[in-house]
Assembly symmetry: D3
C-alpha cells in the first residue's frame, strides 16, 4: 500500500462523521469494563461458592477460611473496579460530564453482592440437586456442579441478578452473556428464578427480563420464555421495563422447543410439551401437548 | 506401555493408507491459517470499527488517528499472511504443486477489505441502532455494541462477506465459525444482508450461503433461512453455488424457531410467526402464523 | 468493608452447614480434573488424528512418525493423570476413603484409548467425507476437517465414547461438554454412532445417552434424539442406564428442529422433516413431514 | 499439617510486631508500582527510540508516525500510572496520610520525559556509534543497537536519569535495576553521562549517584566509579546527596577492573589501566597503570 | 533435509553410548523439579514475608491473615511437590531403584521451612535496615525491600539455607541460582550469615559453602569469600564438605573486588580494602589496604 | 497533553534526520530476529542435548527417539527462520537491496548445526564432568547439568560457536548474550574452547573473540581473557578479525579476577593466581601469583 492510500482510509475512519455512532469516549479517561477481568472474577466467585470444585486445587478443611477470605478480598477490589466502569459507561451514554458518585455506588454494590453470597450458594446447591434428580444420565451431584451447563448458566445468572436488582448497569448483561456464549442458555439478569431450577442440555433456551419462575421448575433445550410484543413510545422506541414475559409457577416442566410468550401464567405443576406454542395462561396441573 | 506397543500404534498411525484422508501436506512447507491469529486480527478490526469500545483503553480524540493507523498497519501485515495461507491451502486441496500467485492475491484482498472498512463500519452502526430499537431490554446503543451477540455475529459476518466476495478461500469460513461458536448464530459469509439488521438472542439461527436479506430485518433465536434440497451432479456430489436459500425483503420480522427453506421470497414488511415452517413465497405485508 | 463485616461473611461461607452440599473434598488431597489440561490434550489428539491440519505446523512426511510418537507419549502421561483424577473424584463421591486402584485403572484406560486411535481416525475420515458430500457450501474435505463444527463435535464424541465404554467417570462428560460449549452440539458419550455421520450447522442438536445411530446418517441443527420420560426408583430418583433414546438406522436424514423421543426406531433410509415431533417408530424408507 | 499448626504460623506472621518493618500499607489502597508493567513500558520506549529494531515488526516508512504516535499514547497513560504509584509510595514512606498532588506530578513528569525523547534518542544514537567504533568484534552499528548490553543499560539509564532529574521517586531506581539485572551494569539514575559512551562487556560495572562523565568515554567490565566513604549524620545515618563520586572528563578510557573512588577528577584523554585502584585526581592525558 | 539424513542424526542422539552421560532417567517416571514453579513459589514466599510490597496488591489490614494463610497453603502443597522431586532426583543419581521415603521427607522439610518463616522475616527486616543505613543513595527502608538486589539475593539465600540445613537436595541450589542469575550475587545455601547483612551493588560477589558471617557485615560488589584450594580423595575427586571458606566476624566491611580465601578469620570490626587479596587471618579491628 | 503537543513530538521522532541512525528498515519487509523465539529454540536444543533434564518431563526410554526427532524437526524449521532473519539483517546493514540467497544459506547453516549436535553433546558431557570434579560443593554430575551457570553458558557458547564458524551473522551474538545476561559469563562465539572446560561461579568472566583454549581448563569468576589493544584502520575504525586474545593451553587453572590480555600463550598446566594482571606469555607449568 502506498502511504497515500492508507492515509486516506485512516482519515476517513477518524472523521467525526463516521465516528459519531460507533465511538465511545469515556468521561475523564474512564475505560470500558474488562470482559477478561470479569471472567476471572467469575472464576473466583465459583471457587468461593463451590470450594474444592473450582480454584485452589487440593484445598484442605483447615485452610478453607483463608482461601475464601483471600479470594473474597480479591473479588471485592477487582469487581468494584469493573462495576465502577459500568456506572461510568452509563454516565457517558447519558451524556453526563461527571461521574463522581460512581465510586461510592460501586463500593456499595459489591458489598451487597458479597453479603448475598451465602444465599446464592444455597440456591445453587438446590439447583445442583435438581440437575442430579432431573437427569438419569448424571452420576452424582458433584458431576453436575463440575460439568453441567445448567449450573454454569445459573451461577452467572444468580450473581448477575443480584447486581441487576442493585441497579448496576452493563455488568450484569456482560456476565449473563459470558454464560450465554459458553452454554447457549440466555437468561436475562432481570428474571426472577426460584430454587431447585434445572435446564437440561440448554442450548437455545431464552428467559426474558420480566419472567418470574417458581421453585422446582425444569426446562429442556430450546425453550423460549419470551415477550409476545412490546409497545412503542411516541418516538417509536420500545417502552422499557414493562412486565411482558411469562410467570411460571412451582413444579412446572417445559419440554424442548416449547415457546411461551407474553405475561401469561403457567399454573403450578403443569407440563408443557415439546414444540408447544403458547400465548395464553394455563391452569395449575395442565398438560399441554402440541396438536400435531 | 512397552516400547513395542507404542511403536506399533505410531507406525499404524503413520502409514500412507491410514493417513490418506486425514493428512494435510502443504505446498512447500506452507502451513494452515492460524485460528488464534485470526481471532486477534478480528479484535484489532473491532478496535478500528468501534474505537473506545474495544482495544486501546483510554484512547483520546487527539490520538485516534495514530491508533487507527497503527492498528490498520498491523492488520494489513498479519491478515495478508493468513489470507495467503488460505489461498495456499486451497491450491494444495486442488492438487496444485505451486502457489506462486497466492502472495499477490492475498495482498490485493487485504487492501480491498481495508478500503471497505468505512462502509462496514457504517453498516454495523445501523445494526447497533437496530438492536437498541428492537430490544426493550437494551439501555443504550453502546450497550448493544459492547455486549450483544447480534453485533458480534454481524461484525464477523460483514468482514467475512467482503473476503468471500473477493474469492478468498477458507478464511471467511473460519471467521464466521468464530462467531458461530461464540454466539450460536451461523451466518454463511456468502449471504447478502442489508443495513439495520438485528438478531435477538440468536442461538440456533442459520442463514444460508445464497440468502438475500433486505434492510431493517429482525430475526429471533432459532430461525433457519435454509435450503430445501440441493441437486447432485453425476457423481452424486452436491452442485455448488446454486441459489437455494430465501430472499427476505425489507422490514420483515421473523419470530423464534421459524424455518424458511428454499429460494422463496418473503415480501416486504411481512411478519413470520414463531415455529412457522415455510417453503413457499409470501406476498409483501403477509402475516404468517403457525397453524397449531 | 470493615474487618468485622468480611469476617462474618467468610465465617458463614466456611460453616459446615453451608458447605455440606457444595464442597468437594478429595481423598488424600486428590484434586479435580483440569479442564484446561483436557482441552490441550484434545488439541494433541487432534494433531495425531489429523496431522498437518492441527499442531506441528509445517510437519514433513519424513518426520511424521516423530511427531505422532512424541505427541502420543505426551498424551499418554497427561491423560492418564486426568483420568486418574476422574476415578478419584468418583471414589470420593461414592464416599470411599481410599482409591488405590485408580492409578492402575487409568493406565489401562489410556492404553486402550490409544489402541483405538487408528479406528477413531478412520471413522472421523468418513465423517469428514460425509460433511463434504452433505453440504453444497463446502469446498473440500480439508475445509470440513479444519473448520466444521460437525467434525469438532464428532472428534470429541468419538474419543469420549471410547472412554465411556471403558467405564471412565467424569472425563467423557467433560470432553463432550467442551464440544457442546464450542459448537452447540450435545452428544452424550454413551451414544453409539456409526461411520459417515454429519450434522449440518449443529446448534441445538441433542443426542441422548442410549441412542444408537447407524452409518451414513445426516442431521440438521436443532434436532433432538431424546428420552420421552424416565422411570423413578422408590426414592424418586431417576433409574440410571435404561435404554430410553431412539435407534436411527443407516442412511437416515433428519431435518432441522425435529424432535424424536423414546426408544423407537427410525427405519433405514427414512427422511424426517423439519420440526417433526415423533414418538413412535417408523418403517424403513418412511418420509415424515410435520402436519402443519 | 494440622489446622492448629498452620493457624499458629499465620497468626505469628500477621502480628503487628512481626509486620512492623516489612509491611507496606499504601495510602487509600494505592498499590506498589508494577515491575512487569515497567518492563513492558521500557519495551515500548525502545520501539519509539529505535523503530524497526524493536516492536512493530515489519513497520514501513509510510506508517511510522502511526506507530510512534500510538505507542507514545500508550506509554503516556501507562507510565503516568506507574509514576503516580511511585509518588504515592514515597508519600506513604514519609508517613503522609494523603497524596492528592501525586496525580498532577506524575502527569507533568511523563510529559517532560516524552518531550526529552528526541534528545534521548540522539544520545543513544551516539552511544551505538561508540559501541561500533570501540569493539573490533562488532559488525555494524545496528548489531550494537540490537544486541549489546551497553545499549540496553544506557537506554534504561538515559530514561531513568530524566525521571530522576524530575524528582520522580522509586521508578528511576526500578528502571535502572531492570538493566542491572539483565546486563550486570549498575548505573545510578543520578549520574550524568555525556554522549558517545560505551561500556564493553559490562558485567560488574558500577557508576555512582553523583558521577559526572564527559563525552566519548569508554569503560570495560568490572570498573567501579564509587564513593570512598560517606559521612554520617548525628543519628549515624549516611547523609544523602553529597557529591562523592568521580568526575570523568571527555575521551577517557578505563580498563577492566579499575576502581576509582571519591570526588576526584580523571582529566581529559586519560587512560586508566586494568585493576588500577585510584583515589586521587589525575591530570589530563595521564596514563595510569597498576604497579604490580 | 532428506528423511535419511535426519533419521541418522536422531538415531545417533538416541544411542545408549551418546546418551550415557547426559540423559536423566527418573525413578518410576518422576520428573525434574520445575524451575518455573520454584520462581512462582519464591514470589509467594516474598508476598508472605513482605506483605504489601509483593503479591496481593491493595491488601488491607483486615484481610492480611486470609492472604497469608491462603498463600502459605499454596506454598505448602507446591513446594512439597518440588522438594519431593529434588529428593527423587538425588535417589536416581545415587542409583537407587526406589524412593519411597521421599514423600515423607519433603513433607517434613516444607513444614520445617514454614515454621522458620517468622525468623526468616525478622532477619530480612534487619537486612533491609542495613541496606538503608549502608547506602547514602537509598531514600527509605521500603525502597530497599522493593528494589535492591541485596534483598533479593538474601531472601533467596535465607530460604535456601533453611532447606540446605534440612538436607534437601538440589532445590536450595536452584533457588540460590535464581538469585545469582538475577543479581550477579552467588551465595551458596550452605553459608551461615548473621543478621543485618548488606551487599551493595553486588555483581560478582561469591560467598562459599562453608563461610560463617557474623552480624552487621557489609560487602561491596566483586567480593569473593572463597576456598584457597581443596583436597582430592584417592580417586582424584574433591572431598566434599570440608570447612574451606572464611569466617567473617561481626561489624566487618569488605570493599569491592576484595578476595578472601581459605578457612581464615576476619576479626570483628575489621575493614578490608578494595581489591585486597587475603589468605591469612586478621585480628579484630584490622584495616587492610592493598599495597599497590 | 493537547493534540498539538503530542503531534509535535511524534513528528520530531518521525523525521528522517532524527531517524537516520536509529531506524532499521529491512529489505522487503523482512523483520529482525525474535529473541523470544531464539530463547525457546535454545530450550528445545537443551532438551535434545540433555534429555530428561530439560523438556518433555517423564520421557521414557522407548519414546526417546520420537521426542528427539520431533524436537529436532521443530528446531529445524524455527531456527532456519531466525537465521534467515539474521542474514537479511546483515544484507540490509550492508546496503544491499536484495537478499535472495539468504534462504538457502540459512537452510545450510541449520543443517550443519544439527549434524554437529552429537559432537556438541559429547563436549558438554565432558564440561559437566569437569564441573563436578572441579567444585567440591557439587553433589553429582546431574546437578551441574541442571543448575550450574557454567553449563548454561557453555551450552549457548558451543551452539553459537558452530553458527559463527558457518558465517551466520547476528544470531550467534544474540545466543551468547542470552547466556551472558543469565549467567554474567560473556564468551564470544568466535572463541575456540576444548573439552572439559569449567567456569566456577562465573560472574564477570570475559572470553574474547580470538581466544584459543585447550582441554581441561578451569576458570573462576571475574577472569578476563581480553585484547590488550586493537589497531585502527585509516578511517580510525578498529580493524576486525585480528588475533588479539590469549591462547590458553591444556590443564590450565586461572583464579578469580585474573586479567590476561593480548595474543599471548599460557603454557600447559600453568596456574594463574587470583587478580593477576598478565600481558606476557608464560611457560608450561608456570605458577603466577600477584605480587601484592
Amino acid at each position: 500500500m502506498t502511504k497515500k492510500y492508507i492515509n486516506e482510509i485512516v482519515k476517513q475512519l477518524s472523521t467525526n462523521e463516521l465516528l459519531s455512532k460507533v465511538y465511545h469516549k469515556g468521561i475523564k479517561s474512564t475505560v470500558m469494563p474488562s470482559v477478561k477481568n470479569l471472567k476471572e472474577i467469575m472464576d473466583d466467585l465459583k471457587s468461593v461458592i463451590f470450594p474444592g470444585y473450582f480454584g485452589n486445587p487440593g484445598m484442605e478443611t483447615y485452610s478453607i477460611e483463608y482461601h475464601i477470605g483471600a479470594t473474597l478480598d480479591r473479588i471485592y477490589s477487582r469487581l468494584k473496579k469493573e462495576i465502577k466502569r459500568g456506572y461510568c459507561f452509563s454516565c457517558a451514554e447519558e451524556g453526563k460530564s461527571d461521574c463522581s458518585l460512581c465510586g461510592e455506588q460501586s463500593e456499595k454494590a459489591v458489598e451487597m453482592l458479597i453479603k448475598e453470597l451465602p444465599k446464592i450458594r444455597h440456591l445453587l446447591g438446590t439447583d445442583a440437586l435438581a440437575a442430579y434428580e432431573g437427569d438419569p444420565a448424571s452420576r452424582s451431584v458433584g458431576e453436575t456442579i463440575f460439568s453441567y451447563p445448567s449450573i454454569k448458566a445459573l451461577t452467572n445468572y444468580r450473581i448477575s441478578h443480584e447486581l441487576f436488582i442493585l441497579g448496576v448497569p452493563l455488568i450484569p448483561r456482560i456476565i449473563s452473556e459470558l454464560a450465554h456464549s459458553e452454554t447457549g442458555i440466555d437468561i436475562h439478569p432481570g428474571a426472577e428464578i426460584g430454587e431447585k431450577f434445572f435446564i437440561d442440555h440448554g442450548t437455545g433456551v431464552v428467559i426474558g427480563e420480566t419472567c418470574i419462575i417458581g421453585r422446582n421448575v425444569r426446562l429442556y433445550q430450546g425453550v423460549t420464555l419470551g415477550a409476545k410484543s412490546f409497545p412503542l413510545d411516541e418516538q417509536g422506541n420500545p417502552i422499557k421495563g414493562i412486565a411482558r414475559h411469562p410467570v411460571v409457577e412451582d413444579d412446572v416442566v417445559i419440554y424442548s422447543g416449547a415457546t411461551i410468550l407474553g405475561r401469561i401464567t403457567i399454573g403450578r405443576g403443569s407440563q408443557i410439551g415439546g414444540n408447544v406454542w403458547l400465548t395464553k395462561s394455563v391452569e395449575p396441573g395442565s398438560v399441554i401437548r402440541a396438536s400435531f
